[in-house]
């Protein structure tokens, strides 16, 4: 099962390596990880995506909580939540036909063209990680030069919040 976990932690040097270290030390798999300071500059927020059965995810959450720099942990998958990821894709558009096809796909997936140069299109698309996978699949017939993904971010719906 795929789990998405949000972590609020002290914005201290080394805090990130404690979390990422924990995953490698204990053999947990990590699918994606994003981190940045929050509106409160003393806190960072991290979103982790991992795969595992319920018992192993329970262990992960407990071990995260045990880290001294970690203030709060929330398993977003336990709540109604929204999940988004941002992706840049650079694709080669060698002829008019390719250009048109790329633009058509972009429209369908609500991707935006953010740069065109030397017959290279750079697209930006936001959505659930699934949607981004889907978009990449539709581009399979084209020459994809580069893909940058941010990793998933998540937030609960409604009144629930991960705050101190």
């Amino acid at each position: 099962m795929r789990h998405i976990i949000s972590v609020l932690m002290e914005n201290a040097t080394g805090a990130l390596s404690r979390v990422s270290g924990l995953f490698s030390q204990r053999g947990y798999n990590i699918e994606s990880l994003t981190v940045a300071p929050t509106d409160d500059p003393t806190l960072s927020r991290m979103t982790l995506v991992t795969k595992g059965n319920d018992a192993s995810v329970e262990q992960i959450v407990k071990q995260l909580n045990k880290l001294i720099d970690v203030v709060k942990v929330m398993e977003l998958s336990d709540y109604q939540h929204i999940e988004r990821e941002i992706m840049f894709v650079k694709v080669a558009a060698s002829n008019m036909e390719a250009c048109a096809s790329i633009k058509r796909m972009a429209d369908i997936f609500r991707a935006r063209v953010i740069d065109v140069k030397n017959k290279m299109y750079t697209l930006e698309v936001t959505g659930s990680p699934d949607k981004l996978d889907g978009f990449l699949e539709t581009l399979e017939d084209h020459k994809v030069i580069e893909v940058v993904r941010s990793g998933a971010m998540g937030i609960t719906r409604g009144a629930n919040a991960l705050k101190i």
């Binding site: 932690m9 002290e10 390596s17 018992a55 329970e58 071990q63 045990k66 970690v70 203030v71």
Partner: protein, 588 residues
């Protein structure tokens, strides 16, 4: 008045009531040592100089494990810090409260591959409870405060504080203020157990017919032996302990059924296997205890009391978890029993006890001492007699450790100090030093082996310097016996690298350090030698016992076996190996 970083450091130690610090000097800690020197002159703090940083950390562990105080160490940057890592990891695995201060190169040199620079924060991250790199002089006092707080509260553990040299140099001075209140939003261990869960545990207990109380090192860390004993005796539970828990319940009591696990007693393991309720207290279902998890205690419900939520349901699912300080939880539990007037019927488990007594009658720890080779078991048993069970015993790692655990019957907590989680050969001698320094008037024995003792043998010099009258019991079988035992059972007696060639003359070695050395090779001389050593409270005795070269530790549950699949004798092992070989052939 403004103080230098080094002066602040000393004030922090004083504020934490540190009277003893173990360490080894070097470039990055010169300013700190200069102030330690002055503090020692003023009679404020005593510094114990080990002969290797690993020894300093193990000594601090021995000090901490035998008292209710944290152990404190100081080491220099680079090799000083890396030498300390084994001790830090050992303390991490056994939840020993330690504060280890390491010097670091000056801030402006960090990251430049400077002389004796090493990222000790990075190196120790997986084996500390927490660590800090101090980057401002203002942070020294608050960081030290946090370090002691984190090390000693919740599930205890080692904390490393890395201090760059320039912070201590005296170029900068600030006013010293030690934070009084400490609130950490990110660290608030749960202390009090949830009452509802405690009540439901009592309810589960009332339904059990075959309970077992399984107590671990957490009971000792929480200083909860009294409460545990009261609880166990109120119900007449059979009690087993882990290797780390020895002494948390009196071993000579009739309810005590011995240690459990790989080299635990037949009765403890059978009782665990057939129990319908496990009451786990301050224990963590380690693999050396459970064997194959799929075969572990198939009929039991589990009540698990521990301060560390991550321990609960990690290996064995808990039906009734209680997170909290073991002492407080047991106190609450006993209060509820009183409130609700729960007076357990002590005969409720009579049939269960009958079954257990059958297993006890196997007498699994029986051995015969003839007049040829000395049995290690016999030495330990005699040591127990001669010291009337009152000694502090530190142990190294190997067969001798298991024999110490099996044959020295501890009736009090904090008397048994060994390396359980990491299994660190070399732990014993320095740990014994730490114990003796904490308890100058008590008898301290170090039970060791010919392999282990050589891993920190240099500490004999520390014992000379500080006049530590240890009793070193070297159970010298000429082998790395524990590994040899596995080779005998599982590698068709190919003894790869386990014969200890070129052993030194331990008697002469001890004498060269100014100690008394005795070599004993006759069973008849064992008791006399022990009496002589124990009676002498001034000098260190190194007793080198030539023991049976290829003796084995029984009972034994091979790794990944179930608790009902034990070897009690060599015959059991041989039968099992033959059966396995046959099965393998047939499979081909």
């Amino acid at each position: 008045m403004k103080l230098t970083g080094a002066e602040i450091f000393i004030e922090c130690l004083k504020a934490e009531k540190v009277d003893t610090i173990f360490g080894y000097p070097g470039g990055a800690v010169l300013f700190l040592y200069d102030e330690l020197y002055k503090a020692e002159e003023r009679g404020e703090i005593r510094h114990i100089l080990s002969r290797h940083e690993q020894g300093a950390v193990h000594a601090a562990e021995g000090y901490a494990k035998s008292t209710d105080k944290p152990g404190v160490c100081i080491v220099t940057s680079g090799p000083g810090a890396t030498n300390a890592v084994t001790g830090i990891a050992d303390a991490y695995m056994d939840s020993v409260p330690l504060v280890v201060i390491s010097g670091q190169v000056p801030r402006q040199l960090i990251g430049n591959d400077s002389f004796q620079e090493i990222d000790i924060i990075g190196i120790t991250r997986p084996c500390v409870k927490h660590n800090f790199l101090v980057t401002r002089i203002e942070d020294i006092a608050p960081t030290m405060r946090k370090a002691f707080y984190i090390a000693t509260t919740g599930r205890p553990g080692p904390v490393v504080v890395d201090i760059p040299k320039d912070l201590t140099s005296g170029v900068d001075k600030i006013k010293f203020e030690y934070p009084k209140d400490l609130k950490m939003r990110s660290y608030q261990p749960t202390i009090k157990g949830n009452k509802r869960q405690i009540k439901s545990a009592l309810n589960l207990i009332s339904q059990a017919k075959k309970p077992i109380l399984y107590a671990g090192g957490g009971v000792i860390s929480a200083r909860a032996s009294e409460e545990l004993t009261e609880f166990a005796q109120a119900y007449n539970f059979p009690v087993t302990t882990t290797l780390m828990g020895l002494g948390c319940y009196p071993s000579t009591d009739k309810q005590y059924i011995g240690m459990l696990g790989m080299h635990g007693t037949f009765e403890a393991n059978r009782t665990m296997h057939y129990a319908d309720l496990i009451i786990a207290i301050g224990a963590r279902f380690d693999d050396r205890v459970t064997g194959d998890l799929n075969k572990f205690s198939p009929y039991a419900k589990v009540i698990h009391i521990d301060i560390d939520p991550a321990t609960i349901s990690k290996n064995v699912k808990a039906h009734n978890p209680i997170v909290g300080d073991v002492k407080q939880v047991l106190q609450t539990l006993l209060e509820i029993m009183e409130e609700q007037e729960i007076n357990p019927d002590k005969s409720a488990y009579d049939t269960w006890w009958k079954e257990i007594q059958e297993w006890q009658s196997v007498n699994c720890l029986h051995y015969d001492q003839d007049d040829t080779a000395i049995k290690a078991q016999y030495v330990v048993e005699k040591l127990w007699e001669v010291t009337q069970g009152e000694a502090y015993v530190a142990s190294d790692v190997g067969q001798h450790q298991m024999w110490a655990a099996q044959y020295y019957k501890f009736n009090k907590p904090n008397r048994w100090v060994n390396s359980g989680g990491l299994g660190t050969m070399g732990f014993g001698l320095p740990a014994a030093m730490g114990i003796q320094l904490a308890h100058p008037d008590e008898t301290v024995a170090c039970i060791t082996g010919d392999g282990s003792i050589q891993m920190c043998i240099q500490e004999l010099g520390t014992c000379t310097q500080y006049k530590l009258p240890l009793n070193i019991i070297n159970l010298n079988n000429g082998y790395l016996g524990m590994v040899r035992q596995w080779q005998e059972f599982f590698y068709e007696e190919r003894y790869a690298m386990t014969y200890n060639q070129s052993l030194p003359d331990f008697v002469k070695l001890a004498e060269s350090y100014g100690h008394v050395g005795l070599h004993i090779d006759k069973p008849a001389d064992v008791e006399g030698a022990l009496r002589e050593a124990i009676a002498d409270t001034k000098r260190l005795y190194f007793l080198d016992f030539a023991t049976e070269p290829q003796g084995n530790v029984y009972p034994m549950i091979p790794a990944q076996y179930g608790h009902n699949e034990m070897y009690l004798t060599k015959e059991d092992a041989i039968t099992d190996m033959q059966a396995k070989a046959k099965a393998a052939k047939e499979a081909e």
